[in-house]
């Protein structure tokens, strides 16, 4: 294995990087057998507007990319995210996975997601997923029934929601 690449953007860094319109992050995988992992955690509050794009371009065989974005939105915050994975013809046996999960906590929070895939190789594999939802009442009830008040319980759920993808990072495992 040659050089792998991993990038973890914490909520504080995201605030610095992605508030208002930001430059797109472009990752080019042009060496064979490389892995790129990007994890983004966003904690939106008040009237923050996150606007960012991540593009991964595979142009060498056996390359792998993983993009995990999670956002928890409060107040009237919003997220605009465009994630693109492109696997070129020469990138045989490459593999991409992109996800964006959003937890909406308030009445005025908004989200826009555009997860796109462009696959030009027939040996490639591609996946993307996006979910948008709110806190599950049953889970909330369960935690509350263990003696934790509602606000604390919600905080706990949101915190764990944001962190959920960290365990998936392969570069951290080694």
């Amino acid at each position: 294995m040659t050089k792998n690449f991993s990038l973890i953007i914490t909520p504080e860094e995201a605030k610095k990087l992605f508030l208002h319109k930001s430059e797109p992050i472009i990752v080019k995988l042009d060496k064979p057998d490389t892995l790129a992992e990007i994890l983004v955690m966003i904690k939106g509050e008040k009237d923050q507007k996150y606007d960012f794009a991540i593009t991964v371009i595979h142009s060498a065989p056996h390359t792998k990319s993983r993009i995990y974005v999670r956002s928890v939105l409060e107040g009237s915050s919003s997220v605009n995210f465009a994630g693109t994975a492109r696997i070129n013809e020469e990138a045989d046996f490459s593999d991409t996975d992109l996800s964006h999960h959003t937890l909406l906590l308030s009445e005025n929070s908004k989200t826009n997601t555009l997860p796109a895939m462009e696959i030009i190789s027939n040996t490639a594999k591609g996946n993307h997923a996006a979910t948008i939802g709110r806190i599950n009442e049953e889970i909330l009830f369960y935690i509350e029934s263990r003696g934790i008040n509602e606000l604390q319980a919600k905080k706990l759920i949101a915190k764990n929601f944001l962190k959920a993808d960290i365990s998936k990072l392969e570069t951290l495992k080694k």
Binding site: L104, S109, T111, N112, M117, G126, I132, G133
Partner: protein, 474 residues
Amino acid sequence: MHSKSSRKEEKSQAQKINTLFTNYKYGFHTDTKSKLVIPKGLNEKIVRQISKIKEEPKWMTDYRVKAYKEFVKRPMPNFGPSLEGINFDDIHYYIRPQDKTQNKWEDVPAEIKETFDRLGIPEHEKRSLAGSGAQFESEMIYHSIKESLSKKGVIFDSIDQGLKKYPELFKEYFGTIVPYDDNKFSALNSAVWSGGSFIYIPKNTYVDLPLQAYFRINTESMGQFERTLIIADEGSFLHYIEGCTAPVYSKDSLHSAVVEIIVKKNAHVQYTTVQNWSLNVYNLVTKRAYAYENAEMIWLDCNVGSKITMKYPSIYLVGDNSKGEIKSLAMAKDNQCQDTGGKIIHMGKNTTSKIIAKSICKDHGNASYRGLLKATKSARNSFNYSKCDALILSPEARSDTIPKISIDDPTASIAHEASIFKIDDSQLFYLMSRGLPQDTAVSEIVNGFANPIVSELPMEYAIELKRLLEIETE
């Protein structure tokens, strides 16, 4: 029936129109005797001419002219496949093979009958399909409704007759779902539309057999600008099937349809399409439905033919508790481009929707999914599940997935997933070790992939489509 004198009158009128245009040319592919041909190209005069031939009321003429102006003004779409191959000046915008829409099979001219025989139209009717509207070139020429349906008050007519016979109903709904200025091609259709179906299902009426229309392009460089308007009144039930086949020509042809559907309170409408245009047709279609309270709308869309297809059936879930479903199958081979998908907009409370899209691409084909999912602030508890799968069969093929998700409803629950993959060698090995030749094994896997959509089709279509997929993957 037409009297002799009125026929003569029309004939002389036709001659007059033809002499109006000096560069008038016949460009037919078969020997069908089209009685009225307007020259290629489009201008305001031709738009007015079409309206005049159809003896339309003034508001419709004005509407067409307004739409034509919008069409000229609008730029070409800035997304999707290249449409540079379309030469708008090289297309016939209006032709009709007969003077009147007919109701009796015996009255249909032999040469046209032959074409329909090959398509199996009479058989379909024998098999108790409720009504059979067949489109040959621009207009409905064969149209019959079973008596039981007419008794129920169901209207199933060609759109031109709809305007003549039910002017008030027509004017109330025409252009309300897809306005003429929606996009460049809806403007073009609004300016030159002819042919298509007009359907009205009265309150609490259940149409238990699917209504069918068969479409066919038969004149070279002939654009089909079919327009369909379906109104399903409260508590009604309808399944409409549109199937397309066309012979192969050397020149490019344009098909730009508009379909508008109104699904009122508690009503249910399913619109099924099997699109198999020849490989030189540009198929640029605007399809949209409004679903009101408790209503349910289903688009089942299969695209196999055409050169370039751009089609995104949409559902506006306007009423509370309404439901929408889009099931889409696209197959692209050679240099085909299937840019398909769907749009769902949640506006009412407690609305649910589902999108299942499957695409297969082969050779240099490009099969893409382009979608929009939106929940407005007014929607509460909206729920969506969408799934897009793509199967790539050859190294040169290409598949794009571009789903846009825009959510303003904080109580929404949305899940989207997409995957792109190839045929697994182990699957292929398994089937071949059981004695299947490679070709058969591949087409079995493709059929298995497409099955969730194909199995939703009525039996004869499912068989037809399955066979088509087999041929395509050979």
